[in-house]
């Protein structure tokens, strides 16, 4: 009796060969590969785009806040207990200035009686929703307002009929540029427009306002000299302390009537809202990705059915079950990885394009791109597993007898 021999263990395939064999299906059916990769790409692009846009707008907010500062507190007159408009004392500004950590105080006083018109010919009822404010000279420095055109009021012009328009007010009045010939009618008096403001992020009320000097307002527009809103800059460290005493300091007789707010909080809250919305969109992107994954699984199942003869041939050439499984798993992974890489590129391009268009700094977080690629790999593995196992279980003789 002759002894039984044992053949060698099967040779391992080299990684390069695994990739090359996995790419066979993609090379022979490029359109199908492209379409099923596209499904993944759309899902990943949606997710990367949502994360990228939300990060970019967040970066823009950070940039705005660091330019404007988060240490501005706004004190408004508010309402009395009976619901009438309350008034801040004339001395409020001076009193707040004495609080230790306060760095700067400025104020505006709304003049409700002074309506604004482009000219005397406009009917009286068409006020356009604009408000007239008496403004202190240090207002722009305190609230971080910048001029789009012309100049801010100065010690000379604040005594004369000169006005600076808020960004929206200028648009509504049809004023493009400041100049000696540009005049608007405020409370029946012609005012020369000396400047136009950019939008003021921390005091959006002023965008609809026409700002005139404090003295000219008292003299010509019947302004009573009571400020309606005070803008306070304080040291960041003492901000909470200042906030607590601000109401009592501004109006010691009726601190309950005073509204104190921090405008940068409102901006951050708006950002948080849009981030919650981004979370929802991320979910939509995830659904798209899932659908893409189903597409890949479908492609792989069909690929296995169509390539039974090839599977049989490979088994006859010495491929083990594991090697057949690896081949189809590699194909599925390549397919989704291709889609994932395309999706990351697409998402990044969309983010960059939209961010640049909106004037934001384009930001695509590394965790989003890495996460996107990891997600596609996971999807490719899950989508390819069942078809790959099926391919490996095919009986070689049955596979070969397929024409």
């Amino acid at each position: 009796m002759m002894p039984v021999r044992t053949p060698p263990a099967p040779a391992r395939m080299r990684p390069g060969d695994v990739v090359r064999v996995g790419a066979v299906g993609l090379r022979t059916r490029p359109l199908r590969a492209f379409l099923s990769a596209l499904g993944i790409a759309i899902g990943i692009a949606a997710m990367v785009g949502v994360v990228g846009l939300s990060s970019s707008s967040g970066a823009e907010l950070d940039r705005t806040l660091s330019a404007l500062g988060t240490n501005l507190l706004t004190v408004s007159a508010g309402n009395t207990l009976t619901g009438e408009a309350a008034r801040l004392p004339v001395e409020a500004e001076a009193m707040i200035e004495r609080v230790g950590p306060v760095q700067a105080v400025s104020s505006v006083g709304k003049i409700p009686e002074a309506k604004v018109y482009r000219s005397e010919r406009i009917p009286e009822v068409q006020t356009g929703g604009l408000s007239t404010y008496a403004a202190r000279l240090d207002l722009p420095a305190t609230i971080g307002a910048t001029l789009r055109d012309g100049i801010w009021l100065n010690a000379a012009t604040e005594r004369h009929p000169a006005a600076v328009l808020g960004a929206s007010a200028a648009r509504r009045l049809g004023v493009g540029a400041a100049g000696p010939d540009t005049q608007v009618v405020v409370g029946g008096v012609r005012f020369t427009v000396v400047g136009v403001l950019n939008p003021v992020a921390l005091a959006t009320d002023l965008d609809n306002g026409v700002l005139v000097g404090w003295p000219v307002a008292e003299k010509r527009l019947g302004f009573d000299g009571h400020p309606t809103t005070l803008y306070t800059r304080a040291e960041e460290a003492g901000l909470e302390a200042v906030r607590e005493v601000l109401a009592g300091t501004a109006n010691p007789e009726a601190p309950n009537e005073v509204d104190v707010s921090r405008p940068s909080d409102a901006l951050a809250a708006k950002q948080a809202t849009s981030q919650a919305f981004a979370g929802l969109l991320l979910g939509v992107g995830a659904v798209a990705l899932l659908v893409g994954g189903v597409g890949v699984a479908n492609t792989m199942v069909i690929s296995v059915l169509e390539r039974r003869a090839e599977i049989g041939l490979r088994r006859s050439l010495g491929a083990t079950r594991g090697q057949v499984r690896t081949q189809f798993l590699a194909e599925s992974l390549l397919l989704s990885l291709l889609g994932g890489a395309g999706g990351v590129l697409l998402g990044t391009a969309v983010t960059t394009g939209y961010a640049l268009y909106s004037g934001w700094p384009p930001v695509v977080p590394a965790w989003a791109t890495a996460g996107g690629l990891v997600a596609t790999l996971a999807i490719g593995a899950v989508a390819g597993l069942y078809p790959a196992v099926r391919a490996s279980r095919l009986s070689p003789t049955e596979a070969l007898s397929t024409p």
Partner: protein, 236 residues
């Protein structure tokens, strides 16, 4: 050579539903033989080839290939045995479309663990051997039927397996191309490869040194019957 190339002992293969494709077949083929297996459709020739080629496992009986007991081997070892010991040639070639001849042949060595450059070098040698040294870059659709079967043979012998199994290698070819393919197989046999050919063509079968006839899953005639009768008992 201490081991016979092929030794089947009382091999049966029944399919679910009670169809018996092989009934207690014993067959012994020595190294260097050139054997024709003939028989009508459904006589079990293809099943015999699949069992010998380890693509199919017998329901009962023992299969030994060059001394390896096939029944005792795992899928991995069996695959390795196919990769190193057996070359297959099919009636319909089974070449990959849109892949140059050289890479089609090199793919035959994919599971041997050789580097790609070495696989391609050996593939070029094999194509040279089958007379297609000038067709390395041609894709299957650019080749004639006879040339395609030569590429398939080159793929089967690129790893220089001691055993070549051919299932109707001339079945899809005209007689001139078929004769060319048969000449090639005779040359390979002369160089030492054991070859088993399934064929419908009695003329081809008659031109080979040994004929095994099958019917209804049994071997009904073997031109080397004496060898079978005596040696068969020895292997048992």
């Amino acid at each position: 050579m201490t081991y016979p190339m092929i030794a089947l002992t009382e091999v049966s293969r029944a399919y679910p539903g009670g169809v018996a494709a092989l009934r207690a077949v014993s067959l012994r083929v020595e190294h260097g033989e050139l054997v024709a297996v003939v028989g009508p459709s459904g006589s079990g020739k293809s099943t015999l080839l699949n069992v010998v080629g380890t693509l199919d496992r017998p329901t009962s009986g023992a299969v030994r290939l060059d001394g390896h007991d096939v029944a005792a081997l795992s899928d991995g070892r069996l695959s390795a045995l196919r990769a190193t010991t057996i070359g297959f040639v099919f009636q319909h070639f089974h070449l990959a479309a849109r892949v140059p001849a050289l890479d089609n042949v090199a793919d035959g060595l994919l599971y041997t663990g050789l580097r790609r450059s070495e696989r391609r070098r050996r593939a070029a040698d094999a194509l040279e051997r089958v007379g297609l040294g000038h067709r390395l870059d041609h894709e299957p659709h650019e080749l004639s039927g006879g040339e395609r079967q030569r590429v398939a043979i080159a793929r089967a012998v690129a790893g220089e397996p001691p055993l070549l199994l051919a299932d109707e290698p001339t079945g899809a070819l005209d007689s001139v191309s078929g004769a060319g393919v048969m000449d090639l197989l005779r040359e390979l046999n002369a160089a030492g490869t054991t070859i088993v050919i399934i064929t419908h063509d009695h003329e081809i079968a008659g031109s080979l040194p040994r004929q095994v006839s099958m019917r209804d899953g049994r071997i009904v005639a073997d031109s080397a019957a004496g060898v079978l009768a005596t040696e068969g008992r020895v292997t048992r």
